[in-house]
């Protein structure tokens, strides 16, 4: 029997009262891959990611992560996953080191001091470790959030807008670090983003959502070819505005 994929979503439905946020989507991710989840506001990206993390109970359908059924069996795998999202923050009053210590203990990280020092070096946080997180700049806070997301060397990493509101230099730095981490650890990443350049650079596969459904799902270069576009942003706009796929005849 082949090993189960790190993340598998089958016919996932999430309805809030009467409004479907996610409407019967299915996909599975290959080990060690980076997949982009694209879609406009309200497309269902955050709900999908939160459901995969076990923060939201699906109305129907099935989500498995590293072989465990979520949310029922989430405690079997939560220590092997992590995430970063603009919907949550690393506590501002605690110093960076205190935050890392608390999260490291929650995730059961051994040699925690060594791990914090290592992350400090890798994410250029060494000089900031003893400063209150709330007194850092936006870019520094993002690096702290990333450090929290990587504290347990996760096999599955879920990222919701990891470079939102960052200047281009810091955003590029964060992307480079993520790329390196995934390459070195063979981590599986699901990345929700509105930044098309980021998705083009990082992702081997792109899933485009609209109104809770998957509109398209392929490698970036194949999407570009299918829509007859030069950038993913143009593809995204085609999907968002319902322009659709450019057929061979039309081309």
């Amino acid at each position: 029997m082949p090993p189960s994929p790190p993340i598998a979503v089958e016919r996932l439905v999430k309805i809030y009262k009467t409004i479907p946020a996610v409407d019967g989507i299915s996909f599975s991710l290959a080990p060690g891959s980076i997949t982009g989840l694209l879609g406009g506001n309200g497309a269902g990206k955050t709900t999908t990611i939160a459901t995969i993390m076990g923060l939201i109970t699906p109305t129907s359908g099935r989500v498995t992560v590293l072989g465990a059924d979520l949310p029922k069996q989430r405690y079997r795998v939560l220590h092997r996953m992590n995430f970063e999202s603009p919907y949550v923050e690393v506590p501002m009053r605690l110093t960076v080191r205190h935050n890392m210590t608390v999260f490291g203990k929650l995730y059961g990280v051994e040699d925690l001091r060594g791990r914090i020092a290592e992350l400090g070096r890798q994410l250029d946080l060494t000089d900031l470790l003893d400063r209150p997180t709330g007194r850092l700049s936006a870019g520094q806070k993002t690096r702290v959030s990333l450090a929290k997301a990587l504290i347990n060397n996760p096999e599955v990493l879920l990222l919701d807008e990891p470079t939102a509101s960052l200047d281009p230099d810091t955003a590029d730095w964060v992307r480079a670090h993520l790329e390196r981490y995934c390459h070195e650890h063979q981590a599986t990443v699901l990345l929700a983003s509105h930044n098309m350049a980021e998705v083009e650079r990082l992702c081997q596969r792109v899933i485009i959502m609209k109104r809770g459904r998957i509109e398209d799902d392929d490698a970036p270069e194949k999407l570009l070819a299918r829509y007859g576009r030069r950038t993913l942003e143009e593809v995204f706009l085609d999907v968002a505005r319902g322009s659709g796929v450019v057929t061979e005849a039309a081309q």
Binding site: L55, Y87, V102, E110, R115
Partner: protein, 274 residues
């Protein structure tokens, strides 16, 4: 680097509970106004009621015999009120800092969060109330510790009630967001007239007395008066209180878990914040 973990939704890890206590301790010591707030109000309460007691004792024979009833009631009420508030404020810190999502998506079990909050309510109470008990000795000659073993029974029962209420209110906040925050600050005041903190249950109208006897703290305050006025420790009252507390605590925990489940269904955990 390796990651240790315990499987199972109901297993409790001392390390994770310790991590949460460490978080609250870091938070507490990072802010002197937070520390001052722990001591300030109990002191004001104790001093006010202490002078009132002093005045009444000098003008009424009965109260002269019932020395310390008011101050004792104030200090015990503070255990109940501060116990719940200590639990709820630590929980609210997670909501204010938008950290609850981090915790709910970490390996921390809800029961571990509750145990950490209970432990921190004791720590906060110790920081806030212990100095006040010494002030009561210095100002009014009232020694709460003179209650001896009875104090342990009073304390344990009052803490159980405060935790049960704190747990349930936290569930309401998780489910309904910060709109329910005011409950954390005010719910215990509903108990003040009904649990007969400052007067015997017989003072209440007859129809209201069964309500009072359905609440565990009523037995503690009655027990305290018995001890201070008649010098008799009523173990039966403490056992009644304990039995009611067991029911109340189980109901609070059950309510919290159901509200958390409902919050996961409604996506409320994504909509927290200041």
């Amino acid at each position: 680097m390796t990651v240790r973990h315990a499987e199972g939704a109901y297993s409790i890890s001392a390390q994770r509970v310790g991590a949460m206590m460490l978080r609250y301790w870091y938070l507490l010591r990072s802010s002197w106004p937070r520390l001052l707030d722990l001591v300030y109000w109990p002191t004001v309460q104790m001093v006010t009621w202490g002078f009132l007691q002093y005045y009444i004792a000098n003008n009424a024979g009965f109260f002269a015999r019932a020395g310390g009833t008011f101050i004792g009631a104030v200090l015990l009420w503070d255990i109940l009120f501060r116990g719940q508030l200590g639990f709820s404020i630590s929980f609210l810190e997670e909501m204010w800092s938008r950290n609850i999502g981090n915790l709910m998506m970490s390996p921390l079990r809800p029961i571990e969060l509750i145990v950490a909050l209970m432990a921190m309510s004791v720590v906060r109470l110790a920081v806030g109330a212990v100095p006040v008990t010494f002030l009561a000795i210095a100002f009014f000659g009232f020694n709460l510790y003179g209650l001896g073993l009875a104090l342990v029974a009073f304390f344990f029962n009052l803490m159980l009630t405060s935790w049960a209420i704190g747990i349930f209110v936290s569930g309401l906040i998780l489910r309904n967001g910060m709109g329910a925050e005011n409950l954390a600050w005010s719910i215990m005041f509903l108990f003040m007239p009904l649990t007969c903190v400052y007067y015997p249950v017989t003072t209440l109208p007859v129809w209201l007395q069964p309500v009072a006897w359905a609440l565990p703290p009523t037995y503690v305050f009655e027990g305290m008066r018995e001890l201070l006025i008649h010098h008799a420790f009523r173990g039966d009252l403490m056992l009644d209180s304990l039995a009611l507390n067991a029911v109340l605590f189980a109901a609070g925990l059950f309510g919290f878990l159901k509200l958390l489940e409902s919050a996961r269904r409604h996506g409320s955990l994504m909509q927290t914040g200041e």
